[in-house]
């Protein structure tokens, strides 16, 4: 199967390791991975901050770049939710680009959705001998309704001990520009999330969104906790040979 990787602008710029992990994981599972170089950003930051015109331009750009692929895989629940849930409302039916949105949006999958729903695998043959806790980010939980897909994948990773995160469903406080527009509340939410993470005794905090992890991880680092953040793709890409 030939799939297009939508890396997302945050991963492209700040977390290239996540992209490399997706490529190696999908190839291991027999996919041919393409990276359309013209891709940029889904437009979520602009739309959710109130800059709709810029957002619409980026949405049209996105659908032009990814038209013609069988499947588009994004290592971000938030960006995948933006394309699938918000694009059809943003680019209104009848307006320019609406047909392209209707065609492309349903083919965009968050990584764990793609693995479980499209490739039909829940054991990707990974090995990661560490104690891990998983934070279901809001847009993957309440936007995409990923359910237990990510944790099913993690449970099948050899050597991995998955510990439950208390109050997992509560927002970490990132919220895009919310983190700088409402820094006090964002930090207070982040502090509670970090307290729950530390309570699990996990070495690694895993999620399907690096943007949320950047916020929680930034707080974990500032507090010198020693807990690492890792994107789901990086754990699933890890194998015994690579250790």
């Amino acid at each position: 199967m030939r799939v297009a990787l939508f890396i997302t602008c945050v991963n492209d710029t700040l977390f290239p390791g996540t992209g490399k992990a997706v490529v190696s994981l999908l190839r291991r599972l027999g996919c041919e991975v393409d990276f359309p170089a013209a891709q940029t950003c889904c437009g979520q930051m602009h739309v959710n901050t109130g800059y709709r015109d810029e957002g619409v331009r980026l949405a049209r750009h996105f659908t032009e770049v990814f038209a013609g692929y069988d499947a588009v895989v994004a290592p971000s629940g938030s960006c995948a939710a933006m394309v699938r849930e918000q694009y059809p409302k943003l680019v209104r039916p009848g307006s320019r680009g609406a047909t392209a949105v209707a065609e492309v949006a349903p083919k965009v999958h968050e990584l764990s959705e793609f693995l479980i729903d499209v490739l039909k695998v829940d054991d990707v043959g990974a090995y990661f001998p560490h104690r891990v806790t998983y934070h279901p980010t809001c847009h993957s939980l309440r936007g995409l309704h990923l359910g237990d897909r990510p944790t099913r994948l993690l449970q099948n990773v050899r050597g991995l001990e998955l510990v439950e995160l208390p109050a997992a469903q509560e927002c970490c406080g990132f919220g895009g520009t919310f983190a700088v527009k409402n820094p006090a509340v964002s930090a207070a939410m982040g502090a509670d999330k970090v307290r729950n993470v530390l309570g699990t005794g996990a070495e690694v905090l895993c999620a399907a969104d690096n943007s949320c992890l950047m916020h929680i991880g930034g707080t974990l680092n500032r507090q010198r906790t020693g807990v690492r953040i890792m994107h789901l793709a990086e754990i699933l890409a890890a194998t015994e040979e690579a250790q």
Binding site: G43, E170, G176, N182, A187
Partner: protein, 463 residues
């Protein structure tokens, strides 16, 4: 006399920054919201058809709003037929004037009140005070707020920011007669309030209420409550004046079947509320006046995205699940409508010209917990994002977002910006200047990698 929110200075981020530092407030809010949240989850979870009920609630409200003109006239006719009087109020001033004149006609200077959001929205107590009329709140929590000369901070539990020790202090300080040796036991506090209020009920000749629902078909008003104080107010006085927002209508009697399940379960987390009072027109010689309040609702109705906020039944489930409300508290929203619903309702009813009102659509991380809990499926994040597009943005932010949009709209520009960042990656300070310090005050920045993903791909993978 409780104060009014109108014209409150500040902005949500500034108000919230103060609130998060108040550890007593944080503790009170966390405890209270988590308790109600848990109760709600239990009684919602036990119903196999909750999603169907929710869909029905949404559909009934949408149908009502689509034909509001027709249902309002039907309501007026039904109430008039049953011996009541109907008044139409375009805005807060008009409603306050109508209520003031009705009270004046009775010759009374004191009135008792049933807990009501609509009368708080229009600042009725303050308007009456200016006309020489004292309004006494009879809902226990509203009484605490009124005695403490305070603002309500929650729709259902207006004194949620207070714990029982603080309530005892307020009673000792402000009540005329307090039982000797008053403790902070809930039972003792309730008894003190009961003694204080009982006299008011028996003395008062005029009562003011709102309503949870109005049934257009029959002209019936419905109030749900827990304490029974509302029923005292509704039944004892000679004159009853109800101020009700025009969106509170339901077309038919049988629609109550849906809402009498949705509201208590979402609100107090009970299967059924203790007291449900229903009345139609003038009952047993009581002089009944219904004041139908617009106060911006017609404008909200004209907005295709925002109009769903008019489905709200004021249950406050969204407040109790909101992580932002839990930390910021209700006062930070500067409105009688706090929390997620307030963040979409207040800017629509009041406009977004003040700094405070313009900051409300941003008082959310868009986590979606409110939408999930809402019994009438108001997509609050959708409305928030829509309002954000209507706010007047600050010029510096606008310029920054334009540049970001320009860079992100082209792969070459994006790649150049990324290379610039990687080149100077060692020079990025631990603490950023200006508005970006909001990030680095409490969080480390991620390390900027040596190479972006696209450059890595270009170097290794591009055939």
């Amino acid at each position: 006399m409780s104060s009014t929110f109108l014209g409150m200075p500040g902005s949500f981020p500034k108000n919230a920054a103060k609130a998060v530092q108040n550890s007593q407030l944080r503790y009170n809010l966390r405890k209270a919201t988590h308790t109600i949240r848990g109760k709600r989850a239990n009684v919602v979870g036990e119903l196999p058809d909750w999603q169907e009920l929710r869909a029905a609630g949404k559909a009934i409200k949408d149908e009502t709003l689509r034909h509001l003109d027709r249902y309002l006239v039907q309501m007026e006719e039904a109430v008039t037929r049953a011996g009541g009087h109907v008044h139409w109020a375009r805005d807060a001033d008009e409603a306050n004037r109508i209520v003031g004149e009705l009270i004046k006609a009775t010759g009374e200077t004191e009135v008792v009140k049933v807990k009501s959001m609509a009368t708080q929205e229009i600042g009725l107590n303050e308007a009456l005070a200016a006309q020489g009329v004292t309004a006494y709140e009879t809902d226990l929590a509203e009484l605490i707020v009124q005695l403490g000369d305070d603002f309500p901070s929650h729709i259902l539990v207006p004194a949620i920011h207070r714990n029982r020790a603080e309530i005892r202090e307020i009673f000792l300080d402000k009540m005329e007669k307090v039982p000797e040796g008053l403790t902070d036991e809930p039972r003792a506090l309730a008894e003190a309030a009961r003694l204080h209020l009982r006299e008011r009920f028996l003395k008062s000749k005029v009562a003011i209420s709102g309503a949870n629902f109005m049934v257009a078909e029959t002209g019936t008003l419905v109030v749900l409550e827990s304490e029974g104080n509302g029923r005292m107010c509704l039944t004892l006085p000679e004159t009853l004046i109800s101020v009700v927002g025009i969106e509170k209508l339901l077309p038919a009697w049988r629609d109550l079947e849906v809402f009498l399940q949705l509201l208590p379960r979402s609100s107090t987390g009970e299967r059924m509320n203790p007291y449900t009072s229903m009345w139609t027109g003038s009952v047993e010689g009581q002089d009944f006046h219904l004041v139908l309040l617009d106060n911006g609702r017609t404008d909200v109705l004209a907005d295709e995205v925002g109009r769903q906020a008019l489905r709200c039944i004021r249950c406050s489930a969204c407040l109790n699940v909101c992580p932002v409300y839990e930390r910021a508290g209700g006062h930070a929203y500067g409105s009688v409508y706090p929390g997620p619903i307030g963040a979409i309702l207040t800017p629509q009813l009041r406009g977004m010209s003040s700094e405070l009102d313009a900051s409300l659509p941003y008082a959310s991380s868009l986590c979606g917990a409110c939408f999930e809990a809402c019994p009438v499926a108001i997509d609050i994040p959708e409305v928030l994002v829509d309002l954000r597009a209507k706010v007047r943005h600050k010029p510096a932010e606008r310029a920054g977002m334009r540049v970001a949009g320009w860079i992100l709209n082209d792969q070459v520009r994006l790649a150049k910006a990324q290379r610039l960042a990687t080149r100077f990656r060692k020079l990025v300070p631990k603490r950023l200047p200006g508005p970006l310090s909001a990030w680095t005050d409490t969080r480390d920045l991620p390390d900027i990698p040596e190479e972006s993903f696209r450059d890595w791909w270009e170097r290794n993978e591009r055939a």
